[in-house]
């Protein structure tokens, strides 16, 4: 086989591989390579984080704006501390915003719901490293059942 044909076939092979990679990136992972996401970090302290995992989504009204970067126990306060990475495009949250741990579906994964606060002139926007003060813990099914049993006991 002459070298011209070999070169053509090799070129076609490399092209096919790169096209396959492009398909994986654009069609399968649905990533826009032109948009390199800048992120900023917020922290929040919860009483109970339930089953929240690292990389769980942070949603505003169902739209994902970021992900949980770190879940750890604060050593001085002994409460769970959650670090959230939020896309820099969404930097208009005021410091009256609140976060709560929600569950998608009855037994689905847990995520953080971010509720934006009111926008007033004197309010400050949350920036990198800020702490979200207003937090609501996860609803733990066992505690809920416990409360229900306890309250129905008292009712008798």
């Amino acid at each position: 086989m002459n070298s011209r044909k070999i070169e053509l076939l090799v070129g076609g092979f490399i092209l096919a591989g790169l096209i396959a990679f492009a398909v994986l990136v654009i069609k399968v992972a649905d990533i826009d390579p032109t948009q390199q996401a800048q992120q900023y970090q917020l922290t929040a302290y919860f009483d109970n984080i339930g089953g929240l995992k690292v990389r769980a989504p942070i949603k505003v009204g169902g739209v994902v704006v970021g992900r949980v970067a770190k879940v750890e126990l604060d050593v001085t306060e002994l409460v769970p501390k959650v670090t959230m990475s939020i896309d820099s495009r969404f930097n208009q949250f005021t410091d009256t915003s609140s976060v709560s741990i929600l569950t998608s579906g009855l037994l689905g994964e847990q995520y953080i719901g971010l509720t934006p606060g009111f926008i007033l002139d004197e309010e400050n926007y949350l920036a990198d490293g800020d702490v979200v003060e207003d937090t609501r813990s996860a609803v733990v099914l066992e505690e809920l059942i416990g409360q229900f049993l306890y309250s129905s006991d008292e009712g008798e």
Binding site: S3, I6, E7, L9, V10, G12, F13, I14, A16, G17, L18, A20, F21, V23, L24, V25, K27, V28, A29, D30, I31, R55
Partner: protein
Amino acid sequence: MDAIAKLGRYGIDWLARLGQAGLMLFGAIFTITSVKQLWPLVIKQLYHIGVLSLLIITVSGLFIGMVLGLQGYTILVDFGTEDSLGPMVALSLLRELGPVVTALLFAGRAGSAVAAEIGLMKTTEQLASMEMMAVDPLKRVVAPRFWAGMISMPLLTFIFCAVGIWGGHLVGVVWKGIDAGAFWSILNASVEWQQDIVNCVIKSVVFALVVMWIALFKGYSAFPTAEGVSKATTETVVHSSLAVLALDFLLTAWMFGS
């Protein structure tokens, strides 16, 4: 006492062979002086190693994707969650099956051919003749094959994954009638750039290195007889398959363990 001495001898032999293999690879990669001279040889090897492996990679990818789609559908439909077929097929292909099965097929198709070819070159004293003519066989024979393997394997892995996902789509959406929109949107939501695609690339590069290294060393150090060459070929497939499977576990534990 004899047994301990034997164990020691095995250990020393093994380390010596590892050292030889390392020296061979080092000599092949780091003595390259000009890419211009190497590139035409790499193109020729890309044809033998990459293009000729395309058929088996594409066909296996298609059928593995279709089988995943079919089995996944029959299980998931019991729970009414057959829409999750997309992420199941895509994630199992990208995270595990794509890199691993490609590496196993590559070891069988290309690795064994490389080992046999170099082994035969050694048996017919072509390597020795090259040295006589002041041509370094590491640069002339080993390096082009190594780079061709390092380039082809990731490309073959991407083709395998893309064809496999298309096969899963074929069974799930076209044959079993899952909604195409749900299939792709749930798939897009679960596949992530860093965790799935980048790790797939890392795995395929590591496997390419291991498979090519084993194949080249087995061929290069083959005993120069017909039996020696056949042994080198067999050992290439066996050792590189075992190395790929063991490394896959280590890489998976490192990437997804925490």
